[in-house]
Amino acid sequence: MPTLALEDVSVSFPIYHGGSRSLKKSLVFRGSGGQLATDANDRIMVEALRHVTLQTEVGDRVALIGSNGAGKTTLLRVAAGIYEPISGAVRTHGRISPMFDISLGIDGEISGYDNILMRGLILGLSPDDIESRMADIVAFTELGDYLDLPVRTYSSGMVTRLTFAVATCFQPEILLMDEWIMAGDAAFLEKAQHRIEGFVEKASTLVLASHNADILKRWCNKGIFMQQGEVKFTGDVDGALEAYAAAVVSSPHPVH
């Protein structure tokens, strides 16, 4: 059963640098006739994704490989519905959750409990759903009564615990990750790794963009190699890593 399908997806970003982003230039150029108008409309476009077609099935663990600027993050964001494609279509089957910035929505002024609740609401869960998982989250953070205090009073280690618990508490079916998540706190590290592993295993589909070949090999069974916004290779993870290695031979970008 397909879980995530991109069909001939293209995405390009206009670069609104300096003046061209201001209304002044748009108006001034519009008023000053043809010659300069082409100048104003001749925006630099970055083609982040070019005719990308791919499909994932239940059980797929997809490694997304490519050098910086190859379009990995854009592809993940398109899959998450953050950028709607300029052309083509994105079909998803199942609850999809991006895990790009795990501290998203963490608000220092509200209590730990409220932060957990807010995260659940952002992910579109009902208060009942959130309530039913609260005990598990609370146990994981080991923060006890601190959860009633505003997050700004926490030590940085405590914030990490909370952030991590909050980020991993609501299980998506399709999990999109931009780089593997690391938890800093040494004492917490093992527990955190254990949790993130369980979290990833439970997802029916994983798409993981990373530069770390060890992590990709350990977690992924399929691989996609991207270059300049195009999918150059689709297959198993080793094949994708080889394709990447072959492509970077002539370029200065490091493999890891």
């Binding site: 997806v9 293209s10 970003f13 206009p14 609104y16 982003r21 201001s22 209304l23 002044k24 748009s26 239940v58 059980g59 964001r77 998450a80 519905g81 953050i82 950028y83 709607e84 494609p85 300029i86 052309s87 083509g88 279509a89 994105v90 079909r91 998803t92 089957h93 199942g94 609850r95 999809i96 991006p98 790009f100 910035d101 998203l104 929505g105 608000d107 002024e109 509200i110 409220d114 609740l117 807010m118 609401l121 952002i122 992910l123 579109g124 869960l125 208060p127 759903d129 039913s132 998982r133 609501f170 299980q171 079916e173 295993e201 439970k202 997802a203 029916s204």
Partner: protein
């Protein structure tokens, strides 16, 4: 291969299938879906809207009632001053000015804060797909809360001056709803244009300042002495009037209602067209 059979089983049953297509063929349906899905997430923006206000006044003694206090000081000071300057009785001008300021504050905050409606939420927009209307509802809701705090001053004023507006006051409720709707639509438009063109918030701020002085808030329409065309073409006057007049015990004129109907219609069309056409571009712009 493992398929999760954890507690999320409930969520799993309601399999969410979603299709996002490029191009504009589906744009009207996507825009409508955005607006409806946004309403369904009322728990999220309801809390966020509250937090936005609490944030500003956390750990202060009066909390959000600082809004009320500073507004009350302004109403009393300006009321007494302008009553003297215009030779109008304080018990006529002060209630009038109080309501004018409260409604104006609501209306102008929609305009001045709309510039950061989407750019201010960049962290969210770039990290997770939420209906864009959520950001609009959130800002609208927190402005309504502020308005409710300010209404306390009005109640104080009518008690002090012993004014009883009577049944006409009920007309203020639909009036307020229409003002909120227009504020919401305006801030959606301004928010989108501001995300694309970063000069817009500055332009809006300076225009709003001028609008404050040309709209009868601290001066009464009678002072115009026949030059009432200046009012007829001022949309803010009509919007303020449909809330202010009922609360002072008078029914707004048919002209007011006609003008407001026209303004709302134009707003609906413009905001609807804008949102349909450019909704998908917002995440590229912020």
């Amino acid at each position: 291969m493992t398929i999760s059979l954890n507690k999320a089983g409930k969520a799993r049953n309601q399999q969410s299938v979603s299709v996002i297509e490029g191009g504009l063929a589906n744009a009207p349906a996507m825009a409508a879906k955005d607006i409806v899905m946004g309403i369904r997430m009322w728990r999220l923006w309801g809390r966020q809207g509250w937090n936005d206000i609490l944030q500003r006044y956390r750990r202060s003694l009066l909390g959000p009632f600082w809004l009320t206090a500073s507004m009350a000081i302004m109403v009393v000071a300006l009321g007494v001053l302008y009553a003297e300057l215009f030779k109008i009785k304080v018990d006529t001008l002060l209630p009038y000015l109080c309501l004018g300021l409260i409604v104006w504050t609501l209306l102008s905050s929609f305009l001045t804060e709309a510039g950061s409606l989407f750019t201010g939420s960049e962290a969210y927009i770039k990290q997770i797909r939420l209906p864009y209307s959520v950001y609009v509802y959130r800002s609208c809701w927190s402005k309504l809360i502020i308005f409710a705090h300010n209404v306390v001053i009005y109640i104080g004023v009518i008690l002090y001056f012993d004014i009883w507006p009577g049944a006409a006051a009920l007309l203020a409720i639909p009036g307020l709803a229409v003002v909120l709707l227009n504020g919401l639509l305006l801030s959606l438009c301004i928010g989108m244009v501001s995300a694309r063109f970063r000069d817009i918030p500055q332009i809006v701020t300076s225009l709003v300042q001028i609008a404050f002085f040309v709209t009868p808030i601290f001066w009464t329409p009678e002072l115009l002495r026949g030059r009432s065309f200046a009012l007829d073409f001022n949309p803010f006057y009509h919007l303020v009037e449909i809330v202010r007049a009922p609360l002072l015990g008078t029914v707004p004129s048919a002209k007011n209602y006609l003008a407001v109907a026209l303004i709302t219609l134009v707003n609906l069309i413009v905001a609807g067209a804008f949102f349909t056409r450019f909704r998908a571009r917002i995440s590229y712009w912020v």
